[in-house]
């Protein structure tokens, strides 16, 4: 009896102490596979291996979302857009800030445990900002890619570095801005540098040592399938970056990854052929990195239509048959449904104005309709959407994406000469605008946050029914948006935009249910998690990370 009481007291003491100590978090690939069973955590970039960014948490509902209040704020102390996707594991949040800092904090209070700072080489080259989109976690180790193309392993308990591995020559323009993906005991990363004439690759590292397990070149070399889609030596500087995190299907043991633009970006005439595997999705065997299938969205791309979007995986009824599909809202303006076991094209439908192609042939290959010199191509250079993550809600059956509307670019083509580490783009472009010099949508914003006019294009949160490819609803925004999406089982969609508003929308209708103005651009999708039974929604705007919850 006495022993029982002692045990009870010990258990009670442990229970009381538990919230006061940093919990021991041990993440495994099996745990990420079953992420849906622990919705209090955000275990990997896309929330789960299927990258649906769908949460089973239901404390915040359409009925009470109007009562969300800010619980805590973390201020960033570096300059530039903050595109990081936090992870939350057993009450601890791990978020990166520019260029390559990792911060571990109490997800309930925002109090910081530790900060790790990696200083990338001053010679690191990035086309579009010193971005980092987050870490991956396996065991009690965090993994981060760096601007100078290293991967570092960091002890999640102490914030100290365990190993550091250089993956490529940064003088050739390689970089890493994406969050790694944990698959089994591998850390999978893709390289950036598509504007510098790199030859892109995806590689898997041994999580314990950083040793390379496999490497897949996104631009095939001599003897490899797809090499014949390049002329002579063009492949050597063919681009094919892979700067956004992919998805994984444990049941098929396939990793899916979106591949970036061919090099040079805007002068397709300089690299005749389809230019595989640029602007494609590739399915790789998770153990060997061998190519299982591919589908190319934009062959011989003339518009920089990077396919660096997140593959969203779901098992849905397709024409009456249960089908393992992949859904993809592409930068080129089309929404696609593919069979992810075989790569078969099931459907493709424009979700914004598209004039670079007029339809698809029987094999799902786009029928291209190049516009005359001086005429605008739709969607514009940044695309109908871009890298910011979409979401899928199995309950509504709808796919949610941040879209850019009424936005076209007039391109200029030039012969580009490759020089190691130098910009290799082959021209440029101008966005259609009502008057010369008008601010137009592009990467980043220089003018005031509310200094915009929809005359040069605008954004929208869009819901697409994958069965038809048609829009179920549109939530128009005055400015463009890079916010991405998160959706929940209670029927909510969380998103935002460059204007600095974060929104909760009704997932079925798109009706605005709640908004808050945070005063800075939202450049990454919100996440949701729970600590001690309380559901939070965290979003980054400008230089602040804000976590919202219902008042007690």
């Amino acid at each position: 009896m006495r022993a029982q009481i002692a045990t009870m007291f010990a258990a009670l003491a442990l229970f009381l102490l538990a919230p006061l100590t940093a919990p021991a978090a041990e993440v495994s690939s099996a745990r990420i596979t079953a992420a849906a069973s622990e919705p209090q955590n955000w275990l990997t970039y896309g929330g789960a291996y299927n990258s649906q960014r769908y949460s089973a948490l239901t404390q915040i509902t359409p009925a009470n979302v109007g009562k969300l209040k800010s619980q805590w704020v973390l201020q960033d102390n570096v300059i530039g857009v903050w595109q990081s996707n936090p992870l939350v594991i057993d009450g601890v949040m791990y978020v990166t800030q520019r260029p390559n800092d990792v911060i571990a904090l109490d997800a309930k209070t925002g109090k910081v445990f530790w900060q790790y700072r990696y200083t990338p080489s001053a010679d690191a080259k990035v086309c579009c900002g010193s971005n980092n989109r987050g870490v991956a976690m396996l065991g009690d180790t965090l993994y981060m890619g760096t601007l100078d193309a290293h991967v570092v392993a960091i002890d999640a308990r102490t914030g100290t570095r365990l190993w550091d591995k250089a993956l490529a020559d940064l003088n050739l323009g390689y970089s890493i801005t994406m969050a790694p993906l944990v698959v089994k005991d591998e850390i999978v990363v893709g390289l950036g540098g598509g504007e510098f004439g790199i030859r892109g690759f995806i590689t898997a590292l041994d999580a314990r040592t950083g040793a390379e397990k496999w490497k897949f070149y996104t631009i095939p070399g001599p003897g490899e399938p797809g090499h014949d889609t390049w002329r002579e030596t063009d492949w050597q500087h063919g681009g094919g970056s892979a700067w956004v995190t992919g998805s994984y299907d444990p049941s098929l043991n396939l990793i899916y990854w979106g591949i970036g633009n061919p090099g040079p970006d805007w002068n397709a005439a300089q690299r005749p052929g389809d230019n595989l595997y640029s602007d494609s999705v590739i399915a790789l065997d998770a153990d060997t990195g061998k190519l299982k299938w591919h589908y190319q969205f934009t062959p011989n791309d003339n518009y920089d239509y990077d396919s660096v979007q997140v593959p969203v995986l779901a098992d849905i009824a397709w024409q009456g048959r249960p089908t393992k599909v992949m859904m993809w809202a592409n930068r080129n303006g089309n929404f696609y449904v593919l069979d992810r076991a075989t790569g078969k094209f099931l459907s493709g439908t424009p979700f914004v104005k598209v004039n670079w192609m007029s339809g698809f042939d029987a094999n799902g290959r786009p029928i291209q309709t190049p516009q005359p010199t001086g005429a605008a191509t739709y969607p514009g250079n940044q695309g109908g959407t871009n890298w910011f993550p979409p979401a899928f809600n199995p309950k509504t059956g709808l796919f949610y994406v941040s879209a850019w509307e009424n936005y076209g670019t007039i391109y200029r083509r030039e012969q580009a000469t490759y020089e190691a580490g130098k910009v290799f783009v082959g021209g440029g472009g101008a966005v259609v605008a009502p008057a010369p010099g008008s601010p137009t949508p592009g990467i980043g914003r220089k003018n005031l946050i509310n200094n915009w006019t929809s005359e040069t294009g605008n954004g929208a949160a869009v819901a697409i029914d994958p069965k038809t490819g048609k829009r179920a609803w549109t939530f128009p925004q005055y400015d463009v948006t890079e916010a991405g999406m998160m959706t929940s089982a209670s029927g909510l969609v969380f998103t935002g935009g460059r204007e600095g508003y974060v929104y909760a929308l009704d997932a079925k209708t798109g009706k605005e249910l709640w908004k808050a103005h945070l005063g800075g651009q939202i450049n990454m999708a919100p996440i949701t998690y729970a600590v001690d039974g309380k559901q939070f929604v965290a979003v980054i705007a400008g230089r602040t990370l804000v976590s919202f919850a219902l008042e007690n």
Binding site: R412, E414, Q415, T417, E419, K422, V423, V425, G428, A430, P434, A435, P436, G437, S438, P439, L448, I449, N450, N451, W452, T453, E455, T456, Q477, Y478, D479, G497, E499, Y501
Partner: protein, 265 residues
């Protein structure tokens, strides 16, 4: 007929002109420009040469070398067109810039492309004498009726204190000749009536999904929630008159040169 100015002027003359302009402007730095015509053919040819020979180091926007912004006319040493040509021809070995052997016509083209502010539409323009241009600005042009030297003038006409740094010459020319087509959409004049019966008229400063900010003719600031708006009209025309046909070609070139010289402090 407009008076044709000699194309070539010596650097000494230019510098003395610049100092004179500085004195007149009360200490405001006025970058000197040559009295030159820049043709569409030259700008286009310059663009081709620039893309092939200069872009690798200077970048597509001309701003890839620290301290230099070719499109914005920010150079380390060069002031005149001849200075630019001399730099291209002799190179800057200490800075790693090689010497280029171009024909005189090619050099003219490169200068035209740079002076156009990298205007790939290659609209021809002409720059005259900034000192005389100031006289046009204050006299015949009547510009000071609306535009003040600093800050905003009457009727919300924008400040021109930095127009030479913020706008390409061809954009300035377009404002002078076709103000309705040149005006930036955000600057459209707004007339708003609210649900409670107020009317606000003025220049639109900012707008987002839920609100619009306006400054009225009395310089009062209004921030209006769209939910409170009954009617909202944006004028498609500018309040500025067109100077097409009102100024001679020479006067226009002089006025252009004056405006291009206004680069703030």
């Amino acid at each position: 007929m407009p008076i044709e100015r000699p194309i070539r002027r010596t650097r000494t003359l230019l510098l003395s002109g610049a100092f004179a302009a500085l004195a007149v402007l009360g200490g405001r730095a006025a970058a000197q420009v040559d009295d030159h015509s820049y043709s569409a053919t030259d700008i286009q040819a310059g663009f081709r040469i620039y893309s092939a020979q200069c872009q690798l180091c200077h970048g597509p926007g001309g701003d890839q070398i620290a301290g230099v912004n070719l499109a914005r006319q920010r150079f380390k040493r060069a002031v005149s067109d001849d200075d630019i040509k001399a730099t291209v021809t002799s190179g800057l070995p200490a800075a790693g810039m090689p010497a280029f052997r171009f024909q005189p016509a090619e050099l003219n083209s490169i200068v035209a492309f740079i002076r156009s502010g990298f205007d790939t539409s290659a609209t021809p323009f002409k720059l005259g004498d900034a000192g005389r241009g100031r006289a046009v600005f204050e006299g015949k042009g009547g510009c000071t009726a609306c535009h003040q030297p600093r800050g905003e003038g009457r009727l919300n006409a924008p400040s021109l204190a930095e127009v030479g740094a913020n706008r390409q010459p061809v954009e300035i020319q377009r404002y002078l000749l076709e103000p309705d087509k040149a005006m930036l959409p955000i600057n459209r004049r707004a007339t708003i009536t609210t649900r409670d019966g107020r009317t606000v008229q003025g220049r639109r400063l900012n707008e987002d999904s839920y609100s619009v900010q306006v400054r009225d003719a009395d310089q009062r600031l209004h921030s209006i929630a769209k939910a409170d708006i009954r009617t909202y009209d944006l004028a498609r025309t500018s309040g500025m008159p067109s100077y097409a046909g009102k100024l001679s070609e020479g006067e226009l070139a002089d006025l252009m040169a004056y405006l291009v010289s206004l680069k703030g402090n």
